[in-house]
Symmetry: C2
């Protein structure tokens, strides 16, 4: 195996270091976060750090880089208290990636990238059309990560919208049926295929496939 010490990593050119460290922790979730300011300007941005935190209550978290520059997503969700999380599909990757460009504050990436806003019921915040899993989330709190001044945002899941074709009998959402992607590093977009699903693991019991049993 090839080895990188901490000193090797420090000596790498910046882009190489970003590539290595961003890909070294494994695959990441690919989500578009939609927000709208109080005066009606919508915003959408890609995030690869949305992580499940708990099911009862239903909570998720994600990481914001140091708040040294104004960030639309963050200021909007603080203003209104809400934001949306929308899974990125194979068909959306180029547009989704383009949202990571440093647009001027106040520019809507919906206008620029060709991603389309979608609205559900009375909800003020924009969802992303053609995304097969869409969540309405409520901003709850934030934890400053002192080690690098990032912010860990905590939110509750208030509403779930999903394409019927993804929903299994046991309420598991089979993401590959919606061509949901995962991110490798900063810029690699990958399409997963389900290979197996296992029953709840118990000591002294063999690992059982749910799929191969036909259940």
């Amino acid at each position: 195996m090839i080895q990188f010490t901490k000193e090797d990593v420090k000596k790498l050119p910046k882009i190489n270091r970003l590539n290595l460290i961003n890909s070294a922790t494994g695959y990441k979730s690919a989500n578009l976060i939609g927000t709208k300011s109080k005066d009606g300007k919508s915003n959408v941005a890609i995030f690869s750090s949305v992580t499940h935190l708990g099911s009862d209550p239903a909570l998720l978290g994600f990481i914001l880089r140091p708040a040294t520059v104004p960030r639309n997503s963050y200021s909007n969700m603080k203003e209104t208290g809400y934001f949306t999380v929308n899974h990125v599909t194979e068909g959306l990757i180029a547009k989704a990636h383009q949202t990571s460009a440093a647009y001027d504050f106040g520019v809507s990436e919906f206008d620029i990238t060709g991603l389309e806003e979608q609205y559900h019921d009375e909800i003020y915040e924009p969802f992303v059309a053609k995304s097969p899993v869409q969540l309405l989330c409520k901003y709850l709190s934030e934890y400053e990560i002192k080690e690098n001044n990032c912010i860990h945002i905590l939110a509750s899941i208030e509403r779930i919208f999903c394409e019927e074709s993804l929903l299994n009998e046991d309420n598991w959402l089979q993401l590959d049926k919606g061509k949901v992607v995962t991110i490798n590093g900063l810029d690699g977009y990958c399409l997963p295929k389900l290979i197996d699903r296992f029953e709840y693991a118990r000591p002294n019991t063999e690992t059982k496939s749910m799929l191969k049993n036909g259940s």
Copy 2:
């Protein structure tokens, strides 16, 4: 689209709620965390919450459920200050999933599941053999998530071991070359294939593929 309100989610049977909420945030990383107690007992457990937190310094985080019961991984990393993170491959999924069973405190999942310990240089902590990306991490701190009493563990990446075949010229690790998997929900294991890689996004510049340009 099908819709679940917060009340709908609350009314679901527990397993269904876990399935829905765990799959609603997108794909998760699949990592085996290896530790060893001061008195030499090794331990390995699967985690799906390891997330990149920063590249300079190289930091990652992961979530531990409420520390109401003794947890080997946690107590070992607090004892020695270190742990390993090992990517799960297609060939390791059944053994990796079995580590999630509730074994008695002090039982080594290496002994039970057939996962093999691997050691590098003078490092005390066990890595997982056949894992193509392996990290040595140093425990830094923890943040209690007050909303559900989970713990967000922060750690620095001290050493990276990887198979040469995954490493691109620009230090990006192409995970599909190592058959690294991603997790869908609690128990679905999926194998991603790279579909595209994009250049750094800039305003007023079209999204450019790195692969289709041949670079």
